[in-house]
Amino acid sequence: MDVYLPIANLSVNGLVIVLLGGLTGLLSGLFGVGGGFLTTPLLIFYGIPPTVAAASAASQVTGASVSGAIFHAKRGGVDYQMGAMMVGGGIVGAGIGALLFRLLQSIGQIDVAIAILYVVVLGSVGIKMAMESVPELLSNRFERLKRAPSKRRHHPLVASLPGRWRFYKSGLYISPLAPVLLGMAVGTLTMLMGIGGGFLLVPLMLYGLGMSAAVVVGTSLFQILFTTIATTMMHALTTNAVDIVLAALLLLGSVSGAQIGAKFALDARPELLRAVLAAIVLAVALQMAVRLTFRPGEIFTVAPL
């Protein structure tokens, strides 16, 4: 099924794109992440221009997080106060990301910057996840019960920020600057890498801010939903690289994949899921590292003057 993408300016096999969306959707349903970290590199690998890939993947993450966000909101699993702080920061971050994008594009280093970001961000997160989940997976249930539950406590850096608010749902009394800064950092990465940032947000909210586990997933989905919306708008206004046909194909696959993944996730062992996710994240980081260090197929790139 040949589909012509009017912004990417080339024709692709529509079925491949739908399946690709389905695969990342499946992951997002299984692991509760957006899957953007997988979509963007796969699209680039398929031959879509990197800017179009990053811009269109953001809207796929929006679609993949909608039903999850609604689900958690109905259950009362969203701390709107905290979420609003993070979304506010995320929108600012997307703006910063847009400026960085333009700057890097003008000096011709955007593709290298994206690749390095992937290696650094996915590499470090993947290693951390693997280090946590693999021993957990190997140890038996008895040992796990013996281990004392770690005390929930926010990072000392968070405590040093000025001004404190009460976030009732998260069970926190911290500076509102902490979620704003967190949102900003993730928003910048969303703009540059085309990722939603769920795999970054969840551990940072849990261990960095020390939020109550009951609202972490819902609030992160809330933040991802609105930050990716802001990112899509930012791309539409600045890079003009959102390909609505590409986004529709990706969405078709990913929203269905996400539903199927969510059903599977109910029966799977969480530590196994985390180990598999860690492996996938590390594989993507490794692939990017290989692309950076091995002689690329194309030495020359063309950009309009």
Partner: protein, 262 residues
């Protein structure tokens, strides 16, 4: 009176007489080029196009060549030119990053050349450079002070890259001349062709000299939905962005509803 009338008649008829092949002093062959389609429409499902460039080539006296054809035919199809920055990756600190760059004022977005024999046998490099015959003779107009060998390195890089994606084509020997009068060649356009005005130039070459040339035009345009999307994304980017957001929110929500029912 009669002398004046005769002079007037000659003056009026002169252009026609001069243009007529029979009386032309330079005895050049007559070249009538044609293209299978003058408009290539890019719309949903477009996977590229195959253009048939054909035409007739006649002797100066209007007859067809018998025996061995006394000329070679070269066809050049050229797309719109654009100003580009070309960047070259180099290994720095173990990573392949963009290091060197060069700027060119007029790089054709598409360039295809086809000939009836290998180009090197038809023309010398000087003639090839004058008429831009062949990928080695492309004139990209480098901007700024840049050494010639550096220019040729960058041009070679661009040519290799665009040949790989089918945007630059060199097909020597693809032009066939049947019965000494009808030449034809098929030239492929990939799906990633740029929209704009393309020119097809046909050259008849004999003894290394271009003895006749003729030009025809092809337009590549986006139509319908594809055209609308391109225009909206550029001119109504706010509304376009909101549409993309609405689409993704709606599809995500709808999938949740559908699967909840099932």
């Amino acid at each position: 009176m009669t002398v004046r009338a005769l002079l007037l008649a000659i003056a009026l008829l002169w252009p026609a007489l001069a243009a007529s092949p029979v009386l032309a002093q330079t005895r050049e062959p007559i070249l009538i080029p044609e293209i299978s389609q003058h408009e290539v429409v890019v719309r949903q499902g477009f996977t590229g196009a195959n253009l048939l460039l054909y035409g007739a080539v006649l002797q100066p006296d209007g007859t067809r060549a018998t025996g061995e054809v006394p000329y070679d035919i070269v066809v050049v199809l050229k797309g719109p030119t654009e100003a580009i920055t070309l960047r070259e990756k180099r290994r720095i600190w173990g990573m392949w990053i963009n290091a060197d760059s060069a700027q060119f004022r007029s790089a054709p977005a598409y360039y295809a050349v086809a000939s009836s024999r290998p180009l090197s046998e038809i023309v010398d490099s000087r003639t090839a450079a004058i008429y831009e015959l062949g990928l080695e003779s492309l004139q990209l107009s480098p901007i700024g002070a840049i050494r010639p060998e550096e220019v040729s390195r960058f041009v070679a890089g661009l040519v290799a890259k665009r040949m790989a994606s089918g945007l630059y084509v060199q097909d020597e020997g693809a032009v066939t001349i049947s019965e000494g009068v009808l030449y034809q060649v098929r030239i492929p356009l990939p799906s990633s062709v740029m929209t704009g005005d393309y020119t097809a130039e046909t050259f008849a070459i004999s003894d290394g000299r271009v003895i006749a040339s003729a030009t025809s035009e092809v337009t590549v345009t986006k139509r319908g939905f594809e055209r609308a999307v391109e225009l909206w994304s550029r001119n109504l980017s706010m509304i376009y962005g909101l549409m993309a957001v609405a689409l993704s929110v709606f599809m995500g929500w709808a999938a949740g509803r559908i699967f909840a029912l099932g």
